[in-house]
Symmetry: C2
Subunit: 277 residues, 2 copies
């Protein structure tokens, strides 16, 4: 039973599933707890919301001991404390596959939430941090330890989301891959996008393909009107938020990547229900 905030309530739900979003023993229990909350907080970040509360439903096998649940809880609690979000309820169920489903609630001043649908042709596109590291961690190549934190303990960009609320017209987080999630923003905003491939902030050692369609980076994609771009870039510099300008929204549909060999249509990223042919 909660006293609702002034302004508006942002609600979003996301989940992590064993074998899909994490594997054992590739993740510690603490890391699974962290990631489950982080992927949800990332959705609040993309709305420019201040975290308030969350509920947590855990479905797991009978071997899920209290000790393991406590470790999941520690991973969540440490991230929750840093971002001032309180666990207010939850559920336990048995299940053959460990699944953590969280619903997070946050607040924004009335009419100030960042949406996917606010972008317009001409807006400049920015992305935070680096891309491709989370996918590279799963590649089996060397340097996996270096990428491991990107895959196992992603950091939701909440401070950037709050800052961007004053400048950006639309936002989305990178969960299924840059091209894919940017595509969602474009569809919702009824525009297209052009990415300058050489400008992508690729994680050290990751590939262009991993940066474009790897997913799970939990960085923010922001569409900023050109007139606000200098002030936005200056505010990010002051706040120590790393951002890169990677392209712009255009009239039309679809996401196009412009590289040395000319433009190419970008597709894909992770599709949970892709049918293998």
């Amino acid at each position: 039973v909660l006293t609702p905030p002034k302004g508006e309530l942002c609600v979003t739900t996301d989940q992590v599933v064993e074998g899909v979003h994490f594997v054992r023993p590739g993740f510690t229990w603490e890391e699974i707890g962290h990631k489950a909350l982080a992927v949800n907080l990332s959705d609040l970040a993309a709305m420019g919301a201040n975290p308030l509360w969350f509920v947590c439903a855990i479905a797991g096998p009978r071997g899920l001991t209290l000790k393991k649940v406590r470790a999941l809880g520690r991973g969540m609690a440490s991230l929750a404390r840093r971002h001032g979000i309180a666990l207010v309820g939850g559920n336990f169920s048995s299940s053959p596959v460990l699944t953590l489903t969280l619903t997070v609630m946050g607040k924004v001043p009335r009419g100030r939430a960042l949406l996917r649908s606010g972008g317009r042709a001409g807006d400049l596109l920015y992305v935070s941090g680096t891309l491709g590291g989370a996918r590279a961690a799963l590649s089996g190549r060397r340097h996996q330890a270096h990428w491991r934190t990107r895959q196992n303990t992603p950091e939701p960009r909440l401070a950037l989301g709050l800052l961007a609320r004053s400048f950006a017209r639309a936002a989305v987080d990178v969960s299924d891959g840059l091209a894919n999630d940017l595509g969602h923003l474009c569809e919702a905003s009824r525009v297209g996008a052009e990415l300058v491939l050489s400008s992508l902030p690729i994680e050290r050692g990751a590939t262009l393909e991993e940066a474009l369609s790897g997913g799970e980076d939990y960085e923010l994609i922001l569409a900023v009107p050109p007139v606000k771009a200098p002030a936005f870039e200056a505010a990010c510099r002051r706040a120590g938020e790393a951002i890169a300008r990677i392209g712009r929204l255009v009239t039309g549909r679809g996401v196009v990547g412009v590289g040395e060999r000319g433009p190419r249509r970008l597709e894909g990223g992770f599709d949970h229900f892709r049918v293998e042919r």
Copy 2:
């Protein structure tokens, strides 16, 4: 992005998992959708809350076609419409096991939510409807068709919850079994309970054991102070809400059933993480 209600916000999350809360082909897809929402609405009913919104996270195998998802949606939509609750978001993930995890939000006037913790020694205990049918449906005995709706399409007692807000001091719904869920109410209220076994409204053809510990009936257990009992019973009669007086809260701890052969301590019900020895 939602405009919060006046008063207080009630938030609760519950889930249904294939092989635990439903089996295929024992349930139609519509029934799975219905049950997923019903078990959540039942939690709002137990708080005396008015439903507002829900989010729905579906994790399922790649064979979960759009046609099946639409049928899940139809089952949810029909129940949602009847109770005036709106789907405001959700998530899809792949998973080897079909799992529907919903978070529902409702409203109550400030300070009026029914809690598990409000009961006091001396309060009379009531339960709505009938008990044991949901479990009997899984027993393999004859008459399963008769019990099927209790197992597959439970009806959340929202109208009764609203009515009870004016009379009851504490409430809980029967999801894991009467003895078990009443035990939760007793723990939260720091009291014990005495059930008169002969007064339990057992579903036709179900056994006492199924009524006591079968679970999934999604009826409400209500603790009403004796001074308000006559008015509560009269209000239920007028509203056409079937309730039965089944015992009372007492000082002490634990749930005791009083039958022909004297009192016995009741235990159990469904424990998702019971360790088999």
